[in-house]
């Protein structure tokens, strides 16, 4: 049995454990009394906050139960926010505004005021366009009102495929859909003006196939600006999710096995040397965007995660070293499953990591970034996309996401323009800061009977998918048989058919359409030819300047890859003098190119 089969068993076993605890709480009087005592204690210690209208509300809402069995069901089955199995949240408090005046009902009835430190904003906006300096300008624009600078970087097509801007046939694609990065010099320009070593800064880079190379360039750029001592301080995330690329997004450059090997090389390095870095973001987003059902999204993402955990453990990296550095990335659309998809995922992950991999508390957390669904946005009557995204935002925060990106309404047309990005960012601010839904009370919308029903149905369906993957021989075997790919494609096909036959209403498209389908006046972000040429010229100059050093570095890299040793330290040297395309090309000579699956 692979680890995934064991995960299924561990969840089943845990569910049985919960039922046993419920029964025990009802039959074993002492146990029941203790639970009730703990419950009442916890409730008594919850601080009370006041809304602007003066309404007192507890900072944590708990179900109104006083029967030991039901208390056991909550404590063991869901857990308080920040407690195993983390159904409600990874942390005790999230999104809550700092306390101005708190009252807490301690036993002596005294009021106490407790200062709570201001948390990081959960808003993280994805951006990348044209050349590094253009994206840099956008980053500064986006973060100008924020206490903390959490940047999220989109790369252009050539970069995502590990190609240089001067590669054959890519002119026209340079800086389209994301930023063009060829060299360490571009990387320096990209984050210019930001303090990369600051605890208030983090960079996220959405790239997988060439992730180890881009990561090496990021480190090289940080060292150029702040010296070698900055490395252990760097905070951020690189996506580096090979499985989902092969299953859905198709941006893979080496065959699967060496891709996974290079990834593990990077994880081994960063989890050892850069304790604040997330070297992988296990992503369901692109699986969802490629057309999967929500359950498929969660099931494939979590099973990919467990497969990575198995791989890193096999390399000899301790689970409590890499476990806390894994992060997740989910898509949030409008289907009913999204009411609880991430909640259930967090619970399955925690149980599997604890009971199958022996992970400690920090390595049990499924810390997740959510992005609202791009696929749910459509071109027809595109302003409706604001409402779609707003609804998805509510669902995302109901699932206690750790960070969130809200899509811009003009996304079906182009890289979002500033006007619509502003509205998207403000959508989050309105929800979190203006509205009272999330800022006063944890669990404000948790635990409704409907949500519980969704949780049960979704968990059952995810475990069933796990069993199917297990029957196929585990995640890697299933990937090679293109199981996940064809399941996703079938789901996508069905979704399209439902739109065409009207069983899936899309307002403005197949329902309430008023025929007014004019292309909106969106300002298109296109990279002018002159800028594209500038990138090519800069790259050629870099290559010429570093030609000798690059050859030596590439030889060393190839030799290291040939010996199947950890390539990452050598990549760090190569990133100083080689372009992305040079590194890709040389490594492909050693390990081959990815053979696409259709």
């Amino acid at each position: 049995m692979s680890k995934l089969g064991q995960v299924v068993e561990s969840v089943e076993k845990y569910n049985k454990f919960v039922l046993d605890q419920v029964k025990r709480a009802r039959t074993d009087q002492k146990f029941g009394r203790d639970l009730l005592g703990r419950w009442n204690d916890t409730k008594a210690k919850i601080p009370v906050t006041r809304t602007p209208t003066g309404l007192p509300l507890p900072r944590l809402a708990l179900p109104e139960i006083d029967e030991p069995g039901e208390i056991a069901r909550f404590i063991f089955g869901e857990g308080f926010p920040g407690e195993f199995p983390y159904l409600n949240a990874t942390y005790r408090e999230m999104y809550l505004e700092p306390v101005r005046e708190t009252e807490s009902f301690e036993k002596n009835g005294n009021k106490t005021g407790k200062k709570i430190t201001q948390p990081e904003e959960p808003t993280r906006l994805f951006s990348g366009l044209m050349l590094a300096e253009d994206t840099n300008e956008r980053f500064h624009y986006l973060t100008r009102h924020q206490r903390t600078h959490r940047l999220s970087t989109a790369f252009d097509g050539p970069t995502l495929y590990g190609l240089d801007s001067d590669a054959d046939g890519v002119f026209g694609k340079i800086g389209e859909g994301g930023v063009a990065i060829d060299t360490v010099e571009d990387m320096v320009r990209l984050y210019d003006g930001f303090d990369l070593g600051s605890p208030n800064f983090s960079a996220s880079m959405t790239i997988s196939g060439p992730a180890p190379m881009i990561m090496a360039m990021y480190i090289a750029a940080a060292k150029r600006r702040f010296g070698p001592k900055v490395v252990p301080k760097l905070r951020g995330t690189v996506q580096a999710d090979i499985f989902k690329e092969v299953q859905a997004q198709n941006e893979t450059i080496f065959p699967i096995e060496p891709s996974l090997r290079f990834l593990t090389d990077m994880v081994e390095f960063t989890t050892g040397e850069m304790p604040r870095w997330y070297p992988i973001s296990i992503s369901g987003y692109h699986i969802g965007e490629a057309g999967s059902t929500p359950v498929q999204q969660a099931a494939y993402t979590l099973s990919n995660g467990f497969a990575y955990a198995e791989m890193f453990a096999a390399r000899g990296i301790p689970v409590d070293q890499f476990g806390p550095r894994l992060s997740f990335f989910f898509d949030c659309g409008l289907d009913a499953e999204y009411i609880a998809l991430s909640r259930v995922s967090r619970r399955i992950w925690a149980i599997g990591m604890r009971d199958v991999f022996g992970a400690g508390p920090r390595a049990q957390l499924c810390k997740l970034h959510t992005q609202t669904s791009g696929r749910s946005l459509i071109a027809a009557e595109f302003k409706n996309n604001l409402t779609r995204t707003a609804t998805e935002l509510i669902l995302s925060y109901m699932n206690a996401t750790n960070s969130c990106h809200s899509n811009s309404a003009d996304e079906p047309f182009t890289t979002p323009s500033e006007e619509w990005i502003r509205l998207a960012a403000h959508g989050q601010a309105i929800l979190l800061e203006e509205s009272g839904i999330f800022k006063h009370t944890m669990n404000m919308l948790s635990g409704s009977p409907g949500m519980k029903a969704v949780e049960r149905a979704v968990e059952t369906a995810i475990l069933e998918e796990f069993r199917e993957i297990e029957r196929l021989g585990g995640v890697l075997a299933a990937v090679e048989e293109r199981y996940q790919r064809s399941q996703i494609q079938n789901a996508a096909h069905k979704y399209e058919q439902q739109i065409y036959d009207g069983t899936r209403p899309i307002i403005g498209l197949n329902k309430y359409r008023d025929g007014n389908d004019d292309a909106p006046e969106v300002k298109l972000a296109r990279t002018p030819r002159a800028k594209q040429q500038l990138q090519v010229d800069r790259l050629r100059k870099f290559k010429k300047k570093n030609a000798d050093k690059a050859n030596r570095a590439l030889d060393k890299l190839a030799a290291t890859a040939e010996r199947s040793e950890n390539v990452f330290p050598v990549l760090l040297e190569a990133a100083e003098v080689c372009s992305l395309g040079q590194i890709t090309g040389r490594l492909q000579e050693v390990v081959g190119r990815f053979r696409p699956m259709v």
Partner: protein, 383 residues
Amino acid sequence: MPSPIRILTAVPICDGHDSAINTINLEFIRHGIEVIYLGYHRSVADIVRAAIQEDVRAIGISSYNGGHIEFFAAVVDLLRKKGADDIKVFGGGGGTITHDDAATMRRRGVDEIFFAGTSLDDMVKFVHRRYAKPRTKRPRPKSSDQELAHELSEIEEAYGIGNRKRRTPKVKIANRKTQIANATVIGFTGPGGAGKTTLIDELVLRYLNQNPKGRIAILSHDPSVVGKGALLGDRATMINSQDDRVFMRSMATRGQAGGLSPATQDCLALLARSNFDYVIIETVGTGQEAMPFQKNGIVASTVLVMNPDYGSRLQLQKIVMLDLADIVVVNKSDLQRARTAHSEIEQRLEQNRRQQQLVDTVAKRHRDSGVDRLFELISKRIR
């Protein structure tokens, strides 16, 4: 019945958005169209080369990652340069292609751009309306590959659907028994999912590396959906075979059982005397009783590619090609069952008392030593 419309579909370079095109491909096939799918992240040169070799009526491009104005125009321009502007270009990109963009693209020679919200039905109707009429007057071919491609179309179209040749193609393949084939023809067959396509592509890579001037032709087959079109998808995975020194042609079986098309023999004969060093023919995934290559026919060597998971030893007795193949390959020999499979097949071959060879390969692995050995074996047999 007339021949089905053949079109090529692809996603541009640096673009992996294949969700839309997958759905569209399926819809085309359901409506009788033969789709040669080149896959995603494909260069202009790859697309145009494939379109000319396959001699399709049109190229459908699905682009979601920007740069579409340049990309579509580059495809049109290169077709024109190669004298192949009777191959038309259409496509779409959801909301990423604006109406203004589309107008520019049409001016630069693109036939049609579909916008977000266009129904699949409308796209199918468009292809039938625009590309169904037979091409009567072909332009003079500008290259030998193009000439060959036109001739192959003529042969295939002469057969239409069904087994009997309806009209005699102008291409002379007469008296082909006495024709001295100047290329060596190697036949690959085996059950679906055994990895034939990957294996051939790896052999092609070795051949190209070893013979800097050599040329190779591949005739690849995929099944037609009963009464409908076909998805010809081998090119998408054959990354090394997208090369100017490789002429590849994909054929649908068009209702014929046994792994080949009614027009295969004639097409193969033409390829064999068309100045290639090797011609490789790949059947569709075959069943146990299949024996696709004629005895004493034009195929000089036959390779049977097996998957280790064929079931019990008893199943081996029923596989006819195990008696006929010159070389038997157990691919995916990294699978657990591979060792057992090797020894069971070895025993089965010993019964035949012929000089059959058995090779284990892992075609998906770069520079696999088993594939190296297979390459050597084939080269030796030919010499």
